[in-house]
Structure formats: structure tokens, C-alpha cells
Symmetry: C2
Amino acid sequence: MAKLQKSIDKRNALIKATIELVNNDGFHAAPMSKIAKTANVSPATIYLYFDNKQDLVNKTYIEVKAVYTKYAFETYDKNMSVEKGFELIWKRIADFKIKESDNAMFLAQCDNTPMIDEPSRKEGIKHLQSLLDLWERGKKEQIIKPISDYLLYAYSINPLSFLMMVQNRDAFQLNDTHIQEAYQAAWDSIKL
Amino acid sequence: MAKLQKSIDKRNALIKATIELVNNDGFHAAPMSKIAKTANVSPATIYLYFDNKQDLVNKTYIEVKAVYTKYAFETYDKNMSVEKGFELIWKRIADFKIKESDNAMFLAQCDNTPMIDEPSRKEGIKHLQSLLDLWERGKKEQIIKPISDYLLYAYSINPLSFLMMVQNRDAFQLNDTHIQEAYQAAWDSIKL
DNA sequence: AAAAAAAGAATGAACGTTCATTTTTATATA
DNA sequence: TATATAAAAATGAACGTTCATTCTTTTTTT
């Protein structure tokens, strides 16, 4: 596959179509022909931009993950206090899951199925380094619990996935009070 | 599909094969022919027990969910204190995710993709009524926070999914200390 | 010997991917 | 600036394969 100068538009349309169709029907019901049609492109054109279906999905995943991370750390600054930094990042993540729910739903699906290959999965994790650094600092300053990063992640960040998923499937509507309560629960579970 | 008197064994083998293959490769890479072969059965035989592939997956989901719920509430008794009841249920769920990790992984995949149809999903949720009842009681007795059940679930039960998923993919090995820390974080996040 | 259960082979549809061709764009020449 | 030409980008149709499902026959059970 050669470098293409033109039509980043088409590539974007393909990524967008992939997210949309995988969200609606799942990987197994998102055929290349349908992805092409949704992106207003010939099936053959997909192969000018991606090696094959697996490659398309991998690259979509990595790209969405990058958008997610950028969004999450947008308002964060390394000089902030640990508590303030955590609050900002947490609330940005919540924001992302509400406002960019298509992207968030796609990530949730990728993170819970064998649909993405291991190298791409590893690539996607890298972006969270800033959060790990923050926790490291928090542990040093004895502000957050001296426990594994997995536990910290599980109890402070991951519940958001479930919360937002529920929002999409049920009548439960999230409002500012819910968000504040959820943030409080998150902080409570990791602070010393 | 008629009622079959015989060979519950074959049905079980099919359910087991479905779980195994979906776990390894995902729904999209678990063809009926492969499921049949894994279960040591002819492809045609599947259709004596299930209407079609969707039906097979739906019923597998409902069955695994039932096993999960039975396991979770095995040691629970309605006359226990709210705190003790919660601890028992929580630890049984953790136990299930460690000891029956195949079942747990399958459920995680089903709960995060459009692979299961909505009626079956609804069916699967019903089983958690006992937990909702416990929380109801906890709120009345002013022992746990007066917040939405979704939030309670997200912060106390759901993080376990992530934790166990990590265990399967990384070097991170769960031990009793982790479990105790995690339980404490769970209880901290919901108790008043 | 009849009925139920299971099997393997067969079927049409749908899939990912490639091929042969056309359309568009960029470059060179006058 | 206008025209010719080469390269790049994009296409629709076609390919071989694999899929879910069904059909016909065989085996097992009653």
C-alpha cells in the first residue's frame, strides 16, 4: 500500500463508516461492501487505504483511541495537584463518553472482544501513560492508595464505561448530579 | 425444533463449544461448522437443538448468565445484614470470574457487543433482582448511598470485569490481598 | 418395524479480495 | 494558456472461498 497524497476525506469516511456499522451490528455484520457503501466508495477503494479488513479495524481502533486520549488530557497540566488533575481528567473522560458516544461505544466493543489484534491493543494502551504518571506521583505524595494501577483503573475510570453504556440502552438519563456523585465515588475509591 | 428427550450431553457440548470458540476468536470467527466439529457433532445436528446461529448464541448467553447468578447468590441469605450480604455476593462474583473465567469472558463479550438480541439481554438481567432488593434494603436502612442502582452497580460490581480481564491478558496475578483491596474499594464506593 | 436422532453431502447466498478498466490529477511541452 | 501524456486514484464486476442452512440417507432407539 503506497502513500497517498490525496483524499484524506475518503480515508476518514471509511473510518467513520466502520465505527458506525460496527456499533450498530457488530464486527461480524459489518461487511466490506456495506462499509464501502456507507462511505460512498467502491469496495476496491478500501484496499488503496488499508491492507485488509483486519487492518482497517486495527487502524480505526488506534485512531479513535488517540482521539479519546487527546480529549481526556486536553485540560490537564502536569503542574496541577494530584487531586485536581485527577478530577479534570476524570470529568473529561466522562464528557467524552457522553458527547462522543459513538467513539466511546466503539472502543468498548474493541476492548472486550478479540476483534483487535494484540499489537494494536498494546499501541492503544500507550496513550494512557500520563494517567499512570499522575498515579505514580499521587502514591509518592501519599495522596492515593498504594495499590496496583489495574485496581486504580478498575475502580476510578472503568465504571464510566458501564455507566455510559447504560445511558445508551436504557431510560436512565445522566445529569450533572449523577456525574458529580460518580466522580465522588471514583475519588473515594482511590484516595488515601 | 421439537422437544428432544435424549442427549442433553450434545446440547451441553454445543454450548461449551460456542463459549470456547467465541472466546478465542470472536463471534465473527466462530462458524457453525467449527462449533459442530468442536462439539463432535454434525453441523446439521445443531439445528435439532437450536433454530439458527442467533438462537444458539442467545441461549448460550442466557444459560451462562443463569450459572453466573446462581453462583453469585449461592451463599447469600435474605436474613443477613446488608453489609455481610454485599460482601458475600461480591466475593462470590470475584470467585466466579477467577474460577469460571471462560464463562465470565463470554459474558463480558456479550454484554459489550450487539451479538445478543434485546429480548435475551433483558432475560439475562432479570436474575440480578436479588442484588437490587439488597440495595433497596440497604438504602432504607441508611447503610448505603441513596443513589441510582446503575451507579451502585458501576462502582461496586462492574470494575471486577476489568480486573479479571486484565488477569487473563497480562502478567498481573490476582491474589487474596488484591481481592481484599478491591472489595474494600467496592464497599467504600457505595457505603454511606 | 416404525420413529427419532444424527450424519455427511449439497446448496445458494454472502463474504473478503482482486482484476481489468476508466476517470481524475499532475506534469511536461509547445 | 492549451494540449499531450503519464501516473495516480477510483471503480464495478468477477473470483474463489466460506458461511449458515437444508436435503437425503444412515444409524440408533423404542
